[in-house]
């Protein structure tokens, strides 16, 4: 590093010391806070494990797959919120993935240059809208729409298919897992698009242009050049969005219905881990609080493993093509 060079003014002996001191203090602070990031993750992990202990002590590991939520009798199980969390996130991905692929393809391959910036900005803004706004929009706009038009249409078409019809049966409540999944898909869409656009842009223009030069159509370029090249990053983007969908709270809480019973129909009300936390936490105590914290721990494990894998995949893409 810098040698303590003797400058024109002052005596060397007294000056070297404060310089070193400055380096030690500043470098030490930077190092400490860098480490803090690691400590933060470790602390989150430890705190949530500690929070989960009472419920697991009471109910054992079967807590995870028990479908029960009875504050009156103090019996709890994580199955219903866990099921709701997975199902809503799954619905969000089913709807969100094709849309995000379409938009990312439009932005990188089809969009005229003068539209690129405004549309990109619009996507970023969509990502910046607070999740509670999506929740309110869902409650006041989407729920009535789902109840009056979309769900009856689903019930009378998909509901009649043998075997999978069960998933789309029952009355149209408006609120429920399906509505929550639809809202979530709108929420994760911008995240997926903005990562995927960046991922698509890692494809070297030479590759793309040589494919066009051979006479390939836009779709063929995307299918045979862009997607194979950026595969890892695209999957990483999906996983990151999945992590968000699993942990999203406010957009879901308004519309999911808060029911702890698992129904066959996706249109029925249900709950998710985050929604149950948001709606019950402030009033809960004793074992109910313990159960909610245990659910929080399960959510942590779920989201962090998904996000971890996603980040590893994106890192791999970055390392490979930097």
């Amino acid at each position: 590093m810098t040698s303590a060079a003797v400058t024109a003014t002052g005596k060397p002996g007294t000056r070297v010391h404060p310089r070193r001191l400055g380096n030690i203090i500043f470098g030490g602070a930077a190092w400490t806070f860098g480490i803090w990031v690691l400590i933060l993750l470790a602390a989150v992990m430890i705190a949530l494990v500690m929070g989960a202990v009472p419920a697991f002590q009471e109910f054992g590991p079967s807590y995870i797959w028990t479908e029960a939520w009875n504050p009156g009798k103090d019996i709890y199980g994580a199955m219903a919120p866990l099921y709701g969390t997975l199902v809503t996130a799954f619905i969000a991905m089913i709807i969100g993935v094709p849309f995000s692929l379409g938009i990312a393809m439009f932005l990188t391959e089809l969009c005229p240059t003068y539209l690129k910036r405004p549309i990109s900005t619009a996507v970023e803004l969509l990502a910046a809208v607070p999740s509670i706004i999506y929740g309110m929009w869902g409650l006041f706009v989407l729920v009535p729409l789902m109840q009056l038009y979309i769900e009856p249409a689903i019930i009378s078409t998909l509901g009649n298919i043998p075997l999978i019809g069960v998933l789309f049966g029952g009355p149209a409540y408006g609120i429920g897992l399906m509505t929550a999944g639809v809202i979530l898909s709108a929420m994760v869409l911008p995240y997926m698009v903005s990562i995927m656009r960046d991922v698509f842009e890692t494809v070297p223009p030479q590759l793309r242009e040589s494919a066009y030069g051979l006479g390939a159509t836009t779709w063929e370029v995307v299918r045979s050049v862009v997607l194979p090249y950026s595969r890892v990053g695209v999957v990483g983007a999906f996983m990151l969005a999945l992590g968000r969908a699993l942990g999203e709270t406010m957009a879901v809480t308004f519309v999911v219905g808060n029911s702890y019973h698992i129904k066959a129909s996706l249109l029925a009300p249900g709950t998710t881990i985050s929604a149950s936390l948001a709606s019950e936490f402030a009033e809960a105590d004793g074992l109910q609080l313990g159960a909610l914290l245990a659910n929080g721990f399960l959510l942590f494990v779920l989201t962090f493993s998904v996000i971890g894998v996603a980040r590893l995949m994106l890192l791999r893409l970055q390392r490979k093509y930097g």
């Binding site: 602070a29 993750l41 705190a47 849309f99 803004l125 607070p130 706004i133 309110m136 779709w219």
Partner: protein, 291 residues
């Protein structure tokens, strides 16, 4: 492509070309449709919010505190609570985030430790905010036995931290090494090189990061439910439960009272446009990059 009449009959190859073009038209059509649908969604959400918000916005909501339904309440305590919690959160997170980002680039560049920190930080950027709320509940609220504005500020600070680390790191990386070397050659100690050269060169980008972090945390609701909770009366005391705009919006929007719902929409308009304006301002600060 040229058709090779010698090996394939012209009609067959024309059919192939036609099929390829048809597939292309279908997919590009779907792609345009997806984009239009996405933009339509944005317009719908913002349009509905504007309509609902402007019809309910009033001067009174800035003057009066939250009150029982039907008694002409406002949002003053929630607005001030939000400003305080967000402000303290960002003040806590900014120095830590900037120093941590500095460590990653100026001290640990290329080291295994820095790489690990970077990875963990990226994970924290996309971590669900509700997890952070629970964490702060366990380490702050539970030992103190009551909800408080401080706990809310700590939770928001933890959410802001990885965003600031990330942008600081990205921006410091853009500072050319030649600048640093020139300063070293003049005999400056390392910490002065960082403060006077690197920070000055990366200042605008780092500001962008802080503003984006403010935008992100000022709309956060879930972590505040477990930390600051809410308060029906005005307080500037951060050690007591505190009202915040997002939590009040949440409570009011799900209530059955029409005047509370109106306040929720007005609050939602206020918060969304603050967040969007912050975003636009932050991006205008950013050095001319893709974003």
């Amino acid at each position: 492509m040229e058709t090779q009449a010698a090996t394939t009959p012209a009609s067959v190859s024309q059919e192939i070309v036609r099929r390829r073009l048809r597939a292309n038209r279908v997919v590009t059509g779907l792609s345009v449709f997806a984009t239009a649908a996405g933009l339509f969604l944005l317009a719908w959400i913002l349009g509905y919010l504007l309509f609902k918000g402007f019809t309910t916005l009033s001067l009174g909501m800035f003057i009066h505190d939250t009150a029982a339904p039907g008694s002409n309440g406002g949002l003053r305590n929630a607005i001030i609570g939000s400003l305080m919690i967000t402000g303290v959160g960002i003040v806590l997170a900014t120095p830590i985030g900037i120093l941590a980002g500095t460590f990653l680039i100026e001290y640990g560049r290329g080291s295994k430790l820095a790489e690990l920190i970077r990875f963990v930080n990226d994970m924290l950027v996309s971590a669900p905010s509700i997890i952070v709320g629970l964490f702060v509940y366990v380490i702050v609220v539970k030992p103190m036995h009551h909800f408080s504005g401080w706990a809310g500020a700590i939770a928001l600070g933890i959410i802001a931290l990885p965003i600031i680390v990330r942008t600081t790191q990205d921006m410091l990386q853009l500072v050319p090494d030649a600048l640093r070397e020139a300063a070293y050659a003049l005999g400056a100690p390392k910490w002065r090189v960082i403060v006077v050269v690197s920070y000055r060169a990366a200042f605008q980008g780092m500001m962008t990061g802080v503003l984006l972090a403010v935008a992100r945390i000022s709309g956060e609701t879930a972590p505040l439910l477990f930390t600051a909770l809410s308060n029906s009366s005005f307080t500037a005391d951060m050690s007591s439960p505190m009202a915040s705009l997002p939590v009040i919006i949440y409570n009011y929007a799900s209530s059955p009272y029409p005047d509370w719902k109106h306040l929720a929409w007005a609050g939602a308009l206020l918060i969304t446009f603050s967040v969007l304006i912050l975003n636009v301002v932050a991006r205008s600060f950013a050095p001319r990059s893709r974003n």
